[in-house]
């Protein structure tokens, strides 16, 4: 390889986010090519609105994956949080939101106890908890045979309102969370420990860290973020049914991986995940524009995620 090529590869490796942003722009260009004039302020506003719940859901996933774990219950938790929030709406907005978030933290804590204390593989633990959550939610919905729960106005505004005509309200919440996460991962002891645990559990123990404390806290944080994502999503679609966020499970992991976080833990960032979530949302928009049947859309969506993940490993030469 020539020196120049080597330098280019190195530049790409160090600034992978630039490549991701370029990909994002290319996808937008594709849409503009298919239907000239489609990419406008309104489109951007829509994309951001739909990316926000996914971005927040993938935020929790990012925290867990950096730590060397995975949480496959995020979508179930988001759905449950939204449903319970909606069902509690008649008792007041505050109570309904707190109830929804509580569900997230509770499930996260159980995940954390399973992984940290009982040493269950994160994949099994969270997958199983996802089933438990969904089953329980079904029982709950049958037991409380009220009318289909409605979404409080505050949540509806949070999920689909705009400021100045174009800026989604959910973007403010997402930006706030993003700032906390990006700064927190880099500049706090807790953030450091997530990377450290993901890199080498034994080394972290030898340095005096009690890993279970970090694991437990982090799964709880992931549960909380999942619940927040569920509430925002319920506001966006203005309804909360029993399969609200189910479709977002794969994208929540894909956004993390496309964003450059190692699935084996120890490296990555939330800024990457943000771009990953945007790419996936725009990709969805492209497929919708192509006007293909839903089944074909699913096939393409899955295939493109695989190609992106493979290309990523190839280009960046990650081990």
């Amino acid at each position: 390889m020539s020196t120049r090529a080597v330098a280019t590869v190195r530049l790409v490796q160090q600034h992978s986010i630039v490549v991701l942003i370029a990909l994002l722009v290319a996808l937008a260009g594709l849409i503009e090519a298919i239907r000239p004039g489609a990419v406008n302020a309104n489109w951007v506003s829509n994309i951001l609105e739909f990316a926000a719940p996914l971005g927040i859901l993938a935020a929790g996933q990012t925290l867990v994956v950096i730590m060397g774990g995975i949480d496959l219950s995020v979508a179930n938790v988001a759905t449950a949080a939204a449903y319970i929030m909606a069902s509690q709406a008649p008792f007041g907005v505050t109570r309904s939101i707190v109830a929804g978030l509580f569900v997230g933290v509770l499930v996260g804590l159980i995940n954390g106890v399973g992984v940290a204390v009982f040493k269950v593989q994160p994949l099994i633990m969270t997958l199983a908890m996802g089933l438990v959550v969904t089953g329980s939610l079904n029982v709950y919905s049958q037991a409380s045979v009220r009318t289909v729960p409605g979404v409080p106005a505050v949540i509806h505004t949070l999920g689909s309102g705009t400021v100045l005509g174009y800026v989604p309200v959910s973007l403010f919440l997402w930006a706030l969370l993003a700032a906390v996460l990006i700064v927190g991962l880099r500049g706090t002891g807790f953030g450091r420990l997530l990377y450290a645990l993901g890199d080498n559990l034994e080394a972290t123990r030898l340095a005096g860290v009690r890993g279970w404390q970090v694991l437990l806290t982090n799964y709880a944080a992931c549960g909380l973020l999942s619940a927040v994502a569920g509430l925002v999503l319920a506001g966006t679609v203005n309804a909360a049914d029993l399969s609200l966020a189910t479709v977002l499970l794969l994208p929540s992991v894909a956004a993390v991986v496309i964003g450059g976080t190692s699935i084996f833990g120890g490296s990555g960032s939330y800024s990457g995940t943000i771009v990953g979530a945007l790419i996936l949302t725009v990709l969805n928009s492209v497929l919708t524009l192509l006007d293909v049947p839903d089944a074909v859309k699913q096939v393409l969506y899955g295939a493109i995620i695989v190609v992106l993940a493979a290309a990523y490993t190839r280009v960046l030469g990650r081990e």
Binding site: R10, G187, T188, G189, F190, R192, L193, Y195, A196, D199, N200, E202, A203, T204, R205, L206, A207, G208, V209, R210, Q213, S262, G266, S267
Partner: protein, 509 residues
């Protein structure tokens, strides 16, 4: 061919392997600048160099595990570029590494079949290595490390290589097994085949090797005949301009210290460790001498809170302690430097994050990090250990010696009272070794207590004030460093009484 200083007159003799001008860099890091190596048929050739000099990279290029950026390799008269280790193996060039390579969960026989190793040859070499009765159905997971190294060697020999590379294979071997490896190497030489031998132990090199090529900073800096008093020259070449400085640091053994008691160990039992009692004082480096597996590992692990003792007491600062977690020991000021660097380091993370890890090891430290304060502490520690790298580089890109220094720097930044060093210089070059011993002495002189186990007995005197000797899990001897020469330690470590008590000692026993 590149001109090599100190080339021997018959340099034009037919060479089996000629490597010239090999270069390799990983991103911004230059691992090899310009390495030359010439190995004759029927020669045992040493490859020497400090950590980071480029030995490992050169070996990997020769065996096809890496491709060079520049330079040529001629093997058996033909210019070759091996694209994989199996290509090199087919050509008759194979390497045995320090770390065992058999898959732990397949039987030895299955391992051999996996690599298409001729079984009868393998058996024959096992006999020569003194393992005639070895059962091929054994699981590598259950075998001792030295046994695994010999199995690796026999597997390499079984393909009848023209050139065998031994990359620090003796680092984890006890003396009697090292002798067997030497005999096999000499036998290959007698058959006209060649061996490239890598070891940090100069004595081994001068006992075994015909010539030695010395690398420094990725360049070949000389070819020496170690047998003819070349040892000094090798050290000088390896270290370059810093040689004199290092020599000055290796001062005479220190006198026993008389500080306050730091740690008292009372009748400690754990696994092999069978009732050990001693005291460690502030201001001293207490050496622990022992052969492989005499309970020293359990001792260090108990003291560091990594495992719990079955009985006995650890008294720190006058109070009996029971450590449930390394964090408890660290709070009591006792920190461990393990032999295996990989165990202690975050390889994907930066030097800074590795060194600063103890600064965030409690819930009360989960909050915002003060970057200026952290930077200051990390930089002080990095400077003190002379880690020659940027603090932002990933630890896995560092040489072995620098990695070990990062592991030590962590505790200089984190703070401690008692340093537990378990074989901290395993597989580290002589320059770095002496730096580490110098640091350990300095720490003790400044009031810390240090417990130091090293598998290299001659080095006890370099660093320690006092030595305890473990044998069969018991403390069998204790002596001031001034009496602890290699011979005395070897006798004690084998459970023999000291010469003073047994006047009619057999010479060379």
């Amino acid at each position: 061919m590149a001109a090599v200083p100190n080339e021997i007159p018959d340099a034009n003799a037919r060479a089996l392997l000629v490597a010239s001008g090999l270069a390799k860099h990983f991103g911004p890091v230059v691992a090899l600048r310009s390495a030359d190596l010439r190995v004759r048929p029927g020669e045992i050739h040493a490859l020497m160099g400090a950590n980071g000099a480029g030995k490992s990279t050169l070996v990997k290029i020769l065996t096809g595990a890496l491709t060079a950026d520049a330079g040529t390799i001629t093997f058996g008269g033909r210019t070759r570029t091996f694209r994989s280790t199996s290509e090199a193996r087919k050509a008759g060039l194979i390497c045995v590494y320090q770390d065992p390579s058999l898959l732990p969960d397949l039987t030895v026989l299955q391992n051999l079949k996996l690599t298409a190793t001729p079984i009868s040859n393998f058996r024959r070499y096992l006999v020569e290595l003194g393992m005639a009765r070895f059962d091929l159905q054994s699981m590598p997971r259950e075998l001792a490390r030295p046994t695994l190294s010999l199995l690796d060697l026999a597997r390499a020999l079984a393909i009848e290589p023209q050139l065998l590379l031994l990359d620090e294979i003796t680092a984890s071997l006890p003396a009697d097994l090292t002798v067997r490896v030497f005999n096999v190497a000499r036998q290959l030489r007698a058959e006209g085949r060649s061996v490239i031998f890598i070891s940090h132990r100069l004595a081994e090199v001068s006992a075994l090797c015909d010539r030695a090529t010395v690398l420094r900073d990725g360049k070949t800096v000389g070819v020496v005949e170690p047998a003819q008093g070349g040892e000094e020259r090798i050290v000088k070449l390896m270290l370059g301009p810093v040689a004199d400085e290092v020599a000055a640091e290796a001062a005479s053994p220190s006198a026993p210290a008389t500080g306050a008691v730091a740690v008292e160990v009372r009748d400690l039992k754990a696994g092999t460790l069978d009732g050990v009692t001693f005291t460690l004082r502030f201001g001293e480096v207490l050496g622990v001498a022992a052969l492989e597996g005499q309970g020293q590992e359990e001792l260090f692990n108990c003291l560091a809170g990594v495992r719990r003792p079955e009985s006995g007491q650890i008294v720190v600062g006058g109070n009996p302690r029971s450590f449930h977690h390394p964090g408890d020991a660290i709070r009591a000021g006792m920190v461990l430097i393990p032999a295996d660097r990989v165990q202690a380091l975050l390889r994907q993370r930066s030097v800074r994050e590795n060194v600063a890890l103890p600064l965030v090891n409690r819930i009360s430290r989960w909050g915002p990090i003060n970057p200026r304060r952290e930077k200051r502490r990390v930089e002080t520690a990095v400077k003190r250990l002379q880690i020659d790298t940027r603090v932002t580089s990933e630890v896995r890109r560092l040489s072995g010696g620098n990695q070990q220094k990062v592991g030590i720097a962590r505790w200089l930044a984190g703070g401690f009272k008692t340093l537990l060093c378990f074989d901290p210089t395993r597989g580290i070059d002589i320059g770095t070794k002496r730096q580490i011993y110098g640091l350990v002495k300095e720490l003790a002189a400044n009031g810390s207590a240090v417990l130091l186990f090293t598998s290299e007995l001659p080095e006890i005197q370099l660093a320690c004030n006092r030595v305890i000797v473990l044998f069969g899990g018991k403390l069998v001897d204790e002596m001031p460093a001034s009496e602890a020469d290699e011979k005395a330690l070897l006798r004690a470590a084998h459970g023999l009484p000291s010469e003073a008590e047994e006047p009619q000692s057999q010479e060379g026993a």
